[in-house]
């Protein structure tokens, strides 16, 4: 089966600055993919390339088997929610629902209206006067009402409070469970995504660090804790992601290329957050940023 999203060596530059480089990813149908990376890693660029709002500099991108393009058949299948939640500020939520009804072939106005009502969001008030979180809910409801087959969400939960965040992710999971929907969701809130997402795309410094099923990715990695000694043998056999040293102890996060046989090291499984932080920390340009502080800028 062909994946719903497939890119090959995708690159994009904006005014001479590399936003995305050599990006090769696949997302199979029915996944909720977490697109994770520090600020400026290229998350928004990747989502914009997938939606067709931006054109690739080089490389290939296929969504639902075709290049993102100006074609109603493609546009009807793809929902995109931009990070800054662009809505017509003077229009009400009800106006937006009406606009969607005029511009989309399969528009679920009833569910959008019902969702917003249940959240207590006034339908008849100009969206410019709503709070940031309420606006985000309006935009999410509109994106879902389009009934897309691919949903691209750029930081959709950033403006939501923790409860609304959890509710939103639950709605998303439910929609995916009904079938026929694939989601890519960018965020830097790893804990929220761990619960909902089953696919991981990790970007750092405009490049893909990891892409795949979360369980598989986690199983490929291990934390080795052992005495501080020469680790050349381990580095040769496996891919060292991160090494932390105390005077007596070495902690190595590795991507395994087979079983670890060094009895001096104790191997443990790695959690998603730890893994993500390790890959992000790898790219920290300031040497003082150790593996724990590297992700401190996320909030």
């Amino acid at each position: 089966m062909t994946p719903v999203i497939e890119t090959r060596r995708l690159s994009k530059r904006y005014r001479g600055v590399t936003a995305l480089s050599d990006c090769t990813i696949t997302v199979p149908e029915g996944r909720i993919a977490a697109l994770i990376g520090p600020n400026g890693a290229g998350k928004t660029t990747l989502l914009r390339l997938l939606s067709g709002l931006a054109k690739p500099g080089s490389g290939e991108v296929a969504v639902l088997g075709g290049t993102p393009r100006q074609d109603p058949a493609f546009l009807a299948d793809v929902g995109f929610l931009a990070q800054d939640i662009p809505l017509y500020r003077r229009f009400t939520a009800a106006d937006h629902i009406a606009i969607g009804g005029h511009l989309n072939p399969r528009w679920d106005a009833a569910s959008a209206r019902q969702r917003l009502t249940s959240l207590g969001i006034p339908l008849g008030q100009a969206v410019g006067t709503l709070s940031g979180g309420q606006r985000a809910q309006v935009a999410l409801a509109l994106t879902l009402a389009k009934r897309p087959r691919v949903l691209l969400l750029d930081e959709p939960v950033a403006a939501l409070d923790p409860l609304a965040r959890r509710q939103f992710l639950a709605i998303l999971a439910e929609a995916v469970a009904r079938g026929g929907l694939t989601v890519v969701l960018s965020s830097h809130l790893v804990t929220d995504l761990e619960r909902t997402c089953d696919h991981l795309i990790l970007l750092a410094s405009s490049r893909v660090q990891l892409c795949g099923d979360i369980d598989t990715v986690l199983a490929e990695h291990q934390v080795l804790v052992g005495p501080r000694k020469d680790t050349t043998a381990i580095e040769k056999a496996h891919t060292l992601v991160q090494a932390t040293h105390t005077p007596r102890q070495a902690t190595l996060l590795i991507r395994r290329n087979g079983p670890v046989i060094d009895p001096a090291f104790q191997a443990t499984d790695v959690g998603l957050e730890e893994l993500v932080l390790a890959y992000m920390g790898q790219d920290a340009t300031i040497p003082a940023l150790g593996h724990l502080t590297a992700a401190g800028d996320d909030q």
Binding site: R48, S51, L53, A54, K55, Q70, D71, P72, L75, A76, V78, G79, F80, A82, D84, P86, L87, Y88, R89, F91, D95, A98, I99, G100, H102, L103, N104, P105, L142, K146
Partner: protein
């Protein structure tokens, strides 16, 4: 999409319709007064056989309304600034283009509907103003015979429609290129004034070959647009028009007076040529807009 375009611009439409209605009421009332004033003056002077200097003795209407009518020169610029410039710029600036372009509608369709309706509205609005002004100016033009003169030519007939299309298209294109409303407004205003000035001054006199009449005291037919006058020597040497160098003895040396003009009969040909010129410019600007909107990233 037409529904969205209407929903977005209905305030413009209401304000525009109200302004047009107010102008129409004012021009109808004063226009009827001027027409009756003119006809009674003609009747009176014909009866007294003293119509020769009516143009200099009779003043029709009021200065205030006359000034307002001259100010309709600015109508196309207003349309370009308030209707054209924000059309695309505002959506790009606020990001709502990303919302619109991710609905099941191509950018081409989006632009066609939005730009199409606004251009149509601008043409209709400017056309209505021009029709009112043309009718209102009828008696005054008959009296002064100045319909072909720059300033009058530009607010009557069909050229205002061409200007309005051009100004609106310029606003749309400037907005698509700059992606910001305020710079788009500035570009539209400056570009429109520059284009209008250059075409009026440099291009319009040459739409058709001007007629030059020479003689000791040449006269132009009434209603002509006079382009130049002066003294011309046997070798084609033109003297300055102030006459200071030629108080005596020019004629004996072979100098003759000349006047270069476009006759009144060419009025509609010039209206047609100038309108076509601005419509072509507008079309080129819309083509630029389409290329920018379709090719550039959102």
């Amino acid at each position: 999409m037409t529904w969205l375009a209407w929903r977005q611009h209905r305030t413009h439409a209401i304000v525009g319709a109200a302004a047009l209605a107010a102008l129409a009421v004012l021009l109808l009332i004063t226009g009827l007064q001027m027409a009756s004033q003119y006809h009674s003056a003609i009747a009176a002077c014909t009866a007294a056989h003293r119509c020769g200097n009516l143009a200099s003795t009779l003043f029709l209407g009021s200065h205030a309304v006359g000034f307002l009518v001259i100010m309709t020169l600015g109508v196309p610029a207003l349309l370009g600034v308030f209707w054209g410039a924000p059309l695309v710029a505002q959506e790009l600036e606020t990001g709502t283009s990303q919302f619109a372009w991710m609905q099941t509608i191509t950018r081409k369709h989006w632009l066609t509907v939005k730009a199409g309706w606004i251009l149509l509205a601008a043409a209709a609005w400017a056309g209505a103003v021009s029709a009112l002004v043309t009718w209102w100016s009828g008696p005054d033009n008959a009296l002064q015979l100045d319909a072909f003169k720059p300033g009058r030519f530009d607010i009557t007939g069909i050229v205002p429609v061409g200007y309005a299309l051009f100004a609106t298209a310029l606003g749309i294109a400037a907005g698509a290129v700059t992606r910001r409303t305020v710079p788009a407004l500035a570009v539209t205003l400056a570009g429109f004034i520059a284009a209008r000035f250059m075409i009026t001054e440099l291009v319009r006199p040459h739409y058709m070959t001007a007629i030059t009449t020479t003689g000791t005291s040449p006269q132009v037919p009434p209603g002509s647009w006079q382009l130049a006058q002066g003294m011309i020597g046997p070798g084609g040497k033109v003297l300055p028009t102030d006459g200071s160098t030629c108080t005596s003895g020019c004629v004996p040396h072979g100098y003759r007076a000349f006047i270069t003009y476009q006759p009144a009969s060419r009025y509609w040909a010039f209206q047609g040529i100038e309108t076509a010129l601005f419509v072509v410019l507008a079309a080129a600007l819309i083509a630029v807009t389409a290329i920018v909107v379709l090719r550039r990233d959102a």
